[in-house]
């Protein structure tokens, strides 16, 4: 258990670090929310100064940071100037939508990556293995930005799938089943793009991990004991490869989150991505920080899940001795 407590502590520390980092960067920013207003001649200096005081923008950094922490504790996650409401209301819905996308994408990409990776490792030498390798490297070379645009263009021109957005206009009137179908139809395109964007990298790492384990001495020994190949692959090789694979899980969550931001913007999926972009253009300081910290929360949560899986899968960690 000590290991998990340590990892939890580490996660909280990192989250705190990210929030400090964001505030430090925000302090460096020359312009701020009121920058546009200043340019407009008809607004007097006094009103701008009053606005600054009201939003607390004129206070020194530590105070601003302390007030932000208080609002996080209260659950507001900071205050949005543009929408004039606590950030939580805005970010909550968006975060859920992003999670919907990324969780399905993580699940699907790992569901495909493990069997494909194991198969590729097993057929390493055959022509099928080489063809598969070439396929993944081409797919790897197509950035998810391009993938999203191509798929969207196909959807728009063929009208097979809804061209972006999360729900169709008449979503409210649909039956629960109808709602689900509509939502899935809308989710299909972004999820496929995100999965195709990260799958090749994952498969390649799974294959590499499997290959490394497959020529380990204890696999030769297992074959030397006459164990059936099925056992050697799934009872000896895969569990031993679990450790490197699980530590890869955290990394895959990071790449998926990054890919989802871009796909959300392109396919106008109302997630954290578009919200962050909007906040940036509006220079809505606390909304930007809220979105960034939330994205880190997801990644850190992903890493914690990885640590949990690692603790369960690898006895060397469970029993503490190195």
């Amino acid at each position: 258990m000590r290991y998990l407590v340590r990892r939890l502590l580490h996660a909280v520390l990192v989250l705190w670090g990210v929030s400090v980092l964001s505030f430090l960067f925000s302090e460096m920013a020359p312009g701020d929310y009121l920058a546009e207003m200043r340019m407009m001649p008809q607004i007097s200096k006094e009103t701008i100064a009053a606005q600054r005081a009201q939003y607390g923008l004129d206070r020194p950094l530590p105070i601003k940071y302390a007030r932000w922490l208080k609002s996080v504790a209260r659950g507001d996650l900071g205050y949005s100037f543009a929408y004039n409401m606590p950030a939580r209301k805005l970010l909550g819905v968006r975060a859920r939508n992003t999670l919907m996308l990324t969780c399905t994408a993580v699940l699907l990409s790992w569901l495909f990556a493990i069997p494909l990776g194991v198969w590729a490792a097993h057929h390493q030498r055959g022509w099928a293995g080489r063809v598969f390798g070439a396929g993944t490297s081409v797919l790897l070379a197509i950035p998810d930005l391009l993938l999203a645009l191509v798929f969207l263009m196909v959807a728009v021109r063929t009208r097979l799938l809804p061209p972006g957005g999360m729900v169709s206009v008449n979503f409210a009137e649909l039956t629960p089943l109808g709602k689900l179908q509509d939502l899935t139809a809308h989710m299909l395109l972004p999820v496929v793009v995100i999965v195709l964007g990260t799958l090749p990298m994952l498969v390649r790492h799974v294959r590499a991990a499997m290959l490394e384990v497959l020529d380990a001495a204890f696999i030769r020994a297992a074959r030397g004991h006459g164990l059936p190949e099925r056992w050697v692959l799934f009872r000896y090789a895969l569990p031993a490869a679990a450790n490197p694979l699980i530590s890869l899980f955290g990394f895959s969550v990071a790449t998926l989150l990054s890919a989802s931001l871009l796909v959300e913007v392109i396919m106008s999926w109302p997630g954290l991505g578009p919200m962050l972009l909007e906040a940036i253009f509006a220079r809505d300081l606390y909304l930007v920080i809220g979105a960034v910290v939330l994205s880190t929360l997801f990644l850190v949560a992903g890493n914690l899940v990885a640590d949990l899986l690692l603790y369960a899968a690898d006895p060397r960690i469970r029993t503490g001795e190195p």
Binding site: G226, L227, A240, P315
Partner: protein
């Protein structure tokens, strides 16, 4: 005593990517009867490990048997189907590797890694497999539940080697091949493991092929000895006779080295063998030991000597005909 293992004119070649073909075994002939313990004496690069991995058909990818036969109880192993070989490995023939630490799967409990072998080769349910495993662990000196449920990283080098021995003997194979089983261990642990091997071998009437570069290790366990040099057996016979009156100059040199070590007359020049070990990719046309031999004759540089048989002893040297 009926014959157990017959090896006839065995040739094995490694094809290395750059260095072309290297012949590790260049015509090896020897036999073993049931219950016998044979030692293979040779220095690194003489092909002794290749011999150990060739018999159960566990040659690495780059190696292949180019000629000769290996018969276990009148059954030809060379060219046997992988499925049939698998049924033999673990049940009839077992190979103990050099590095005990690497031969065990780090994420599986010790008990499971032994019970798997029992279930792979013997009828009966899990319960009987576990009983046999615990009984075997008892015999190798690792009694009780603690060791059964332990993981490899929780055991010392000596204990891990005992587990590997338990794995080898649990299905009562007819022949156990041990490739330098104790070279990576402490000297005190080494003598414990060797005596364990000796007692278990006699109790379970298992034939042993023990491979080592140290004549003293073979002396404690083996009835017969094969001396290997540059991929061939240069001398073989009953161990006590060969050690007392070695015939081949290489055997004489090796044994006199050990003898001077045991006499302990302190800091005087050691009877080292001049020259360098043979380079298997560029072997001389004549006898491979000729460049380092103090008693070389004219014929030695021309062609390889044939094996001359006399009673239970054989030697491959022009001093005795051939």
């Amino acid at each position: 005593m009926e014959a157990l293992l017959q090896v006839r004119d065995l040739h094995v070649q490694y094809n290395l990517e750059k260095a072309g073909h290297v012949s590790a075994l260049r015509g090896v002939d020897f036999e073993m009867t049931a219950g016998q313990s044979v030692g293979v004496l040779g220095e690194s690069g003489c092909g002794k490990s290749t011999l150990a991995t060739t018999i159960p058909g566990l040659l690495p990818a780059g190696a292949s048997i180019t000629r000769g036969s290996v018969r276990l109880r009148e059954r030809e192993l060379v060219g046997l189907e992988e499925m049939e070989l698998r049924s033999i490995r673990g049940a009839e023939v077992e190979l103990i590797h050099q590095e005990p630490a690497l031969a065990l799967n780090p994420v599986l409990r010790i008990g499971a890694q032994i019970a798997d072998i029992v279930r792979a080769h013997m009828p009966g349910d899990r319960g009987s497999a576990i009983r046999q495993t615990q009984e075997m662990l008892q015999r190798v000196g690792l009694p009780g539940e603690r060791f059964f449920r332990a993981y490899p990283h929780q055991l010392s080098g000596g204990q891990r080697q005992r587990v590997v021995i338990a794995q080898a003997l649990v299905c009562r194979p007819q022949l156990v091949l041990a490739d330098e089983p104790t070279s990576s261990l402490d000297s005190t642990t080494q003598s414990e493991i060797l005596s364990l091997l000796q007692t278990l071998r006699q109790e379970m009437r298992v034939s042993l092929l023990l491979i080592s570069h140290d004549p003293a290790v073979l002396a404690t366990l083996c009835d017969r000895v094969l001396v290997m040099y540059a991929g061939k057996i240069v001398e073989q016979g009953p161990l006590s006779e060969v050690y007392r009156r070695p015939r081949h100059p290489y055997t004489q040199a090796l044994l006199s080295l050990v003898a001077s070590r045991q006499s302990g007359n302190g800091n005087v020049r050691l009877p080292a063998i001049p020259g360098h070990p043979p380079n298997l990719s560029q072997l001389p046309s004549g006898c491979s030991f000729e460049p380092r031999c103090a008693e070389r004759l004219g014929a030695c540089a021309v062609r390889e000597p044939e094996e001359v048989e006399e009673g239970e002893r054989r030697v491959r040297c022009f001093k005795y005909g051939g």
